[in-house]
Symmetry: C2
């Protein structure tokens, strides 16, 4: 039934039935979690061999380097090479880091705040106002970085090709206080959108008023497809160089969702000037990354082909979970008007757009029934979704039977919230 | 011969002989390094078992926590417990971090710069001037942190009991721009000085004009004795709390010189308010430390007794190296007036005070003979040793035969530089 066209009596009948189902679920005392994009234990098990990739003291010496000792701020050469092949940039333009690209992003923003960009050297913290563009819905941890540094965030809508580039081009040209933008260009968090070639090239060709404008290109899901389709996007580092904007972009990626979320390795890629800038400031902060762990990754994955082969295992484990979520949504919500959802070809999330004004209520109902969701609003800067509509579903962590049950409950909550909302105006 | 009492002719004769010996060494084309406090490969080999302490997927789940996945910003409980026992503070007051206490120190300073201290919340970067006290000679990487943040450094002399506390007390009481001090309280870098109980308690009882004054207590060598003597210093966290200054100190330590320098784990300990402050800001920067590596440490060392037993192995490996350095200095320089040196009971360095105005020359002579030393001046803020006298000798890394040879060369360089210096005024 299309709830948006139902009469008051029909809605009341529906709600009464939904309430009964909802109370039934509540009585089960469920405890299920679809909140964070955590890989499942089965995905992590696939990397078991990495734990013993470096077994002996002799193993720790690789290409003449003792990975146990101090030094090598830029990461071990073989790990930089692995990331260089993945990102398709020269190895000199890649730094291999520790267990978190988020930390690399935060620290990069920190250096911009305190010391200013390469060749500009005007600390952002000394400026009246610093603003960042935030494509929405987006990644809550990106927004949290801006919020911590007091950077004002401006929402930019997304469509199926990426951010609204007319708006991006106009805003950055007009306002020199706009210093950057967050991007997840491939299987965007949470929509799964892949930026079109045109969008990527328009990014590379931006003409910002701020000479220290920086694109934070978080290529978190670069090899995280869940279909058999080969999906590639243009190389932003190369495109920026071609466009005469070599220093405008910082690219980040990690193996957090390839090897181990807490014990992976990450990378930063940028122009030679930006790499030199990064190293200069890193030198006072760091003794170098955990090189033994970088070596574990090199020995376990061997090369780019090894990385990609490993992701085939993840694909096989994740695809049924995404399918389960989408099938459950289809079966329960299609044609009801209670919401729409993305059907991504990769990444970690399904983005659900509820009937306006219902997202918080759905999250609350889920919570009371023992289903933990990412907070409504989390996909928007300051946690403020202007339509109170978007919810992020993370299908990777729960075992599939739990996931199906959680999604059944979620659908009942979405329908119930929609009926309640529609009845408010009847 | 006491060079300071020699005649011009005697000095010329000495120098001529020294030049011959020096040229002899130069001709050997040596390549030896006494620059950094890097553990020797034999010390690292002693930790080989840690590499396979976590072998299987099942091993990674410890006390109900899957150490492979995201989360646990404060570090895994068992690792916090290990550090809590080491530092003798409640486990709630300890955070277990990644592979570098230097990074933890830098990040802590960064948060003071950008956000201000707990309960004060006045960013240091917004203030006209921020100053730090730096006991000298000291650790170059501490000074590099201040220099990067534009913090003005003020030298404070050290004696055999620690920093000159009369001066410290007076300066912090007089000048509200003085926001902190660097301390290596046990086996200080580079002198090996152990702060006396009185010095520690005077630190805890400081009455700084700045309400956000902070002691950076880098307890880097807490279990790094090289004699059989048991050396303990008062617990600064406890002493500060007793003195009514619970928030005045941040304590740091790491296993960089216990397990692996590049792949160890570190800790931050402080008052409950400071721990909450640290976590609040860490939350935007980090996904949590490498928990698998923390677990490796827990399983390999087991407990504080295990840590200490492991350090007995280091002691046996390091003591002969320290002895070799000191014996060579004794044999070649005692009574010559060419310098004096520390005879530390622990830590990683021997501090050498050359005849005034000779340190740079000695380092240069060593370099030309193929011996890399820590840069003269490095033990002072801004690399400026007012007397051009102090040199830091790091005996841990070279094999003992190389070390002995390097020290022979060093002594010839010290004598040669002294003769040259004395002849300038004859």
């Amino acid at each position: 039934m299309d709830l948006t066209k139902a009469t008051k009596a029909e809605l009341e009948a529906q709600l009464s039935e939904l309430n009964a189902r909802y109370e039934g679920y509540k009585a089960q005392g469920l405890k299920l979690n679809m909140a964070r994009g955590k890989p499942g234990a089965d995905q992590l098990d696939a990397c078991e061999g990495m734990l013993t990739a470096v077994k002996t003291s002799a193993d720790t010496v690789y290409e003449g380097l003792d990975t146990r000792n101090y030094g090598t701020l830029e990461g071990i050469p073989a790990c930089r090479k692995l990331f260089a092949d993945l990102l398709q940039v020269p190895v000199e333009q890649v730094l291999a880091g520790g267990n978190s690209s988020l930390t690399f992003m935060y620290d990069t923003m920190d250096r911009l705040m305190l010391f200013g960009a390469a060749g500009v050297d005007e600390p952002w913290v000394k400026q009246d106002k610093v603003k960042f563009l935030c494509p929405v819905p987006g990644y809550d941890r990106h927004f949290a970085v801006c919020q911590q540094f007091g950077i004002e965030m401006i929402n930019v809508p997304m469509d199926e090709n990426g951010p609204d580039m007319d708006l991006v081009e106009r805003l950055v040209a007009e306002d020199a206080a706009i210093k950057g933008i967050w991007c997840v260009p491939k299987f965007s968090n949470p929509t799964g959108v892949v930026y079109s070639d045109e969008v990527v090239r328009r990014f590379a060709n931006l003409k910002p008023a701020a000479k220290d404008f920086r694109i934070f290109w978080d290529n978190a899901y670069i090899i995280h497809g869940i279909t058999d389709e080969t999906i590639e996007i243009p190389n932003i580092i190369e495109e920026c160089a071609k466009a005469g904007n070599p220093d405008m972009v910082f690219e980040f990626c990690s193996t957090s969702k390839v090897s181990f979320p807490g014990a992976g390795v990450c990378a930063f890629a940028a122009s030679p000037a930006n790499v030199a800038w990064q190293l200069k400031y890193m030198n006072a902060q760091q003794i170098g990354p955990d090189k033994i762990n970088q070596l574990r990754h090199v020995l376990f994955f061997k090369d780019l082909a090894g990385l990609k082969a490993h992701m085939e295992i993840h694909k096989k484990l994740l695809k049924p979970k995404f399918d389960a979520v989408i099938d459950t949504l289809e079966q329960n919500l299609a044609g009801t008007g209670a919401g729409s959802w993305s059907a991504p070809k990769g990444g970690y999330f399904i983005s659900f757009d509820a009937m306006e004004g219902c997202a918080k209520r759905i999250q609350q109902l889920c919570k009371e029934a023992g289903i933990v969701m990412t907070g409504a609003g989390a996909t928007y800067p300051y946690g403020k979704d202007p339509k109170d509509s978007n919810l992020r579903i993370a299908p990777s962590f729960p075992p599939i039977e739990e996931l199906k049950l959680a999604m059944e409950v979620f659908c009942v909550c979405a329908l119930k919230a929609s009926c309640e909302k529609l009845l408010e105006n009847k």
